[in-house]
Structures are given as structure tokens and as C-alpha cells.
Subunit: 225 residues, 2 copies
DNA sequence: TTTTTTGCAAAGAATTTGCAGCGCG
DNA sequence: CGCGCTGCAAATTCTTTGCAAAAAA
């Protein structure tokens, strides 16, 4: 069993660099910085120390979107905003009315220790980057954007925006349509149609009276209204 | 460029199994289930399809605590609760007053697309598991637990609970103390002391008049009050 | 028939670990 | 002067990719 945590030079530099940057660096971006001061340090040491320091409560390990873990020198409770394009993470101050009060226990019997609130979007730099080039490169991911947070908002009756669009298009049609008819009637690319159809069929909102022909069902009309 | 998404047998089974489980499976736990129906399917196919289906908006890829990505058949906007011990993920219904309203843009210039709210805690099964054995195995991680959510709550002046405890102990002492004195005066194990001290020294709240001896500074007393 | 998808194996990214020696307390 | 820490390399874990064969539309 370990008895004490020693403050080695490496550990000190890691801590110091983490304190200096206001970004919420990943282990290896921090490693790059530390390496300038301690060229012989290894990435493993950085990982090990970040783990140890966060266990000891000196720094905070963040659970944030994106592949890599991030670390924060600021122990004060605060929330973050994540850029879905460049993955940068900034702090975010919630106004008091936006705080969520923490229930002690939820109905499923969980003992609740805390919660994390993370906004996502596009940072100013990426917005600029998007504006300049000839073609806007669409944000392919995070498609079904909720308009408000928490539960509620977002998709109606468990339908994604795309599914809803397809369903509405079919509702306007009085006979069975093919994928191309649907594509023409919606903003979707043909590539995306069959997939939506399959989902809708599975939910019983769309039927297929003939091969590659689709029409809305009674339930489908109900779901729309 | 792909024009259509084909509904292969594998894809159908993956979708079907994902629809059947109420947990929010990781790719490989879903793979284990699917393999019972399609023994020759490969993990890569499962990964590929989960990616494709979530891009198409038929399923949802979750950004959740824990190493592995998770997938959800339920497209409706909802939040999750994560068990820090067994990593299981359940749905969580927020009461309406707990919803966060989504600002269109924050002060840093982010274009905000949405937000994720994730509670963490201990699920009922793990609570039982913890109650039974001889020794409670402490939750080492997620140490500095905020008592409320959003910003605010939690640690005072950027001090972790441990740092604050150490600082308070030093405040009661009229001469410089060693680590062991501090350990005796607090609920902390000796192992954790030196680490807290170093953090406090860095913040100027603690001074070290002699080797291995520590005392609170003026700023330290201010921080406590 | 034509294009997408699969299974396999191998690559890749992020993180962790074993170990021998170094150095802090 | 002992135990914790480091650097290195190799191992792990999770996920993605290239390719030839198989399967949808």
C-alpha cells in the first residue's frame, strides 16, 4: 500500500502546465507541453500522474464527448461546452435558473451522486471556418437536434426529423411511392430514404404493398397528428 | 458515393436486438447477443452498422461516461444515469422544472446545438453488493461530489473537500505541523496529505517554514472564512 | 448486373502495465 | 535507505479499415 504521494519534479511540472492552460487538455496534448520542459518524460508518466492526481482530488478528470479523456485544474464545479467539429472544450457558466436540482434518489432506486451537464455546438473559430470555404461541410453527426434540453423537446413520438419528414411526404401521397418519389418530396438524399422507411415499417407507420413501394398506414397518420 | 442503404439480414438483426434490450448496450455486448442468432457475424460488422444506422438517424449513439460508446434504439430525447461501479446506463426522466432551457448562443460565441445531461451514482444492484461484503469498498473515483448541479454548489473557492479539511486542521494549529499531525486531525489517510499540502502551497494558502512542516497563511485563513 | 455489405485480419488510437533502476522524503 | 516513481517497451482495450468474396436491389 502506498503511504504518501511524492511531489516529484515531473509531477510538479505536469500540475503546473495543467494550471497554466485554460483549455481542458487531453493527456497527450499536455504531454507535448510538458515535454518542452522535461524532454525525457514519457507519455506513460503523464497518464499515470494525471490519474493519481485526480484520484487524490488535486485535479479533475472530465468525462466529456470525444474519444480522449480530458483534465481540468479547476476543481470548482462547472459545466462545459464541446465543439463537435474541433473537439475543443470550454467552460460554461449556467445561469442560476438553469441549474438542475439534484434529487437524492430517482425512481429506479439509484443513489445519485451528481450530474454532468454538457452543451455541444460549434465554437466561434469553426463557425468562421465553415463560413469561408466554397461548400459548407455539413455536420453529419449529432443529427436529431433537440430544441430544448432535458427530456421533452426534440423528436416527436420517437421519430427522428428525417423519419418525420418521410412520413409527412407519404401522407400527402394517395398511392404507394418509390424511394425516388420520396426523395423528390423531401430534403433527403436518396441514400437516406430506405433506411428511414425500414425504421418506419418496423414501427408499423409505413406499409409496403409492393416491392420498393411504400405507403403510410393508419397508425402512421395517427402518429403525425 | 453510396446511394441507398440496404437492409441486410445482419443489419436487421442488429437493429432488432438493439430494439429488444432496454439497456444501452456497448457494441460488443450487442455483438454477443447478435452472435447467438448469426454465429458467423463479425464484430466489425456490428461496429460498422451501428455507425451507419446512427448516421442515418435510425438509432442514437450515446456520449456517456465510461470507455465504450453505447447505442440506443430510442430516438426520443431523454437523459441517462450512469452507475459508476458497474457502468450500466439507465434512462432518467427529468421533471419539467428540471429541464434546462437552451440558450441559442453563449457568451463565448458558441453556436449551441444541444446539451446532454447525465447523472451518475450507484445502481440498486451495486448498492446491495456494497452492503453485503465485510468491508465497504470505497468509491475511489468521482471524489469531489457536488451537492447540486450546474455551476455553483460543490467545492468552495476551488478547494476540494480534502484540501478544505486539511486547511481547517492547519487553521486550528498554532504552530507548524507535520503530515502525521494533519492526518490525525483529519479524516484523511497519511497517503493523501502531502498531495493536498502541495496543492495548497501552490495556491498560497499554506506555507512550509521548515522541511515537512506546514502552516496556514493569511490568504489561507481568508479562503476559509 | 451492379453496388453495397460482409468476414477476416490487420491496423490504429488511447490508455495501461511490468520491470529495472532512480531519487524523494 | 526504502518505497514510490520514472522511462521504456510491450500489452490491452476499443474501434476502424483494406480487401476479396457474398449478397442485396
Amino acid at each position: 500500500m502506498k503511504d504518501t504521494l511524492r511531489m516529484t519534479h515531473q509531477r510538479e511540472v505536469i500540475l503546473d502546465e495543467l494550471g497554466k492552460v485554460k483549455t481542458h487538455p487531453t493527456a497527450d496534448s499536455l504531454y507535448e507541453r510538458v515535454k518542452k520542459r522535461l524532454p525525457r518524460i514519457s507519455l506513460a508518466t503523464v497518464y499515470r500522474n494525471l490519474e493519481i492526481l485526480s484520484e487524490a482530488g488535486m485535479i479533475r478528470k472530465l468525462e466529456i464527448s470525444g474519444r480522449q479523456k480530458r483534465f481540468d485544474w479547476d476543481l470548482e464545479q462547472h459545466d462545459h461546452i464541446f465543439c463537435v467539429q474541433c473537439q475543443r472544450v470550454d467552460n460554461l457558466e449556467l445561469k442560476s435558473q438553469q441549474r438542475i436540482s439534484l434529487p437524492t434518489e430517482d425512481d429506479k432506486g439509484y443513489q445519485i451522486d451528481g450530474c454532468r451537464v454538457e452543451f455541444y455546438g460549434v465554437c466561434p473559430q469553426c463557425q468562421k471556418k465553415n463560413a469561408n470555404p466554397k461548400k459548407k461541410r455539413g455536420t453529419k453527426k449529432m443529427d436529431c437536434k433537440p430544441k430544448s434540453c432535458g427530456s421533452g423537446g426534440g423528436c416527436k413520438a420517437g421519430l427522428s426529423e428525417r423519419q418525420q419528414e418521410v412520413l409527412e411526404a407519404l401522407a400527402k401521397c394517395d398511392k404507394a411511392c418509390g424511394s425516388k418519389d420520396i426523395a423528390a418530396a423531401t430534403s433527403l438524399e436518396p441514400k437516406q430514404i430506405s433506411c428511414q422507411i425500414t425504421a418506419l415499417k418496423k414501427k408499423g407507420l409505413v406499409a409496403s404493398p409492393a416491392r420498393c413501394k411504400y405507403e403510410i398506414t393508419q397508425d402512421g397518420r395517427k402518429a403525425l397528428s
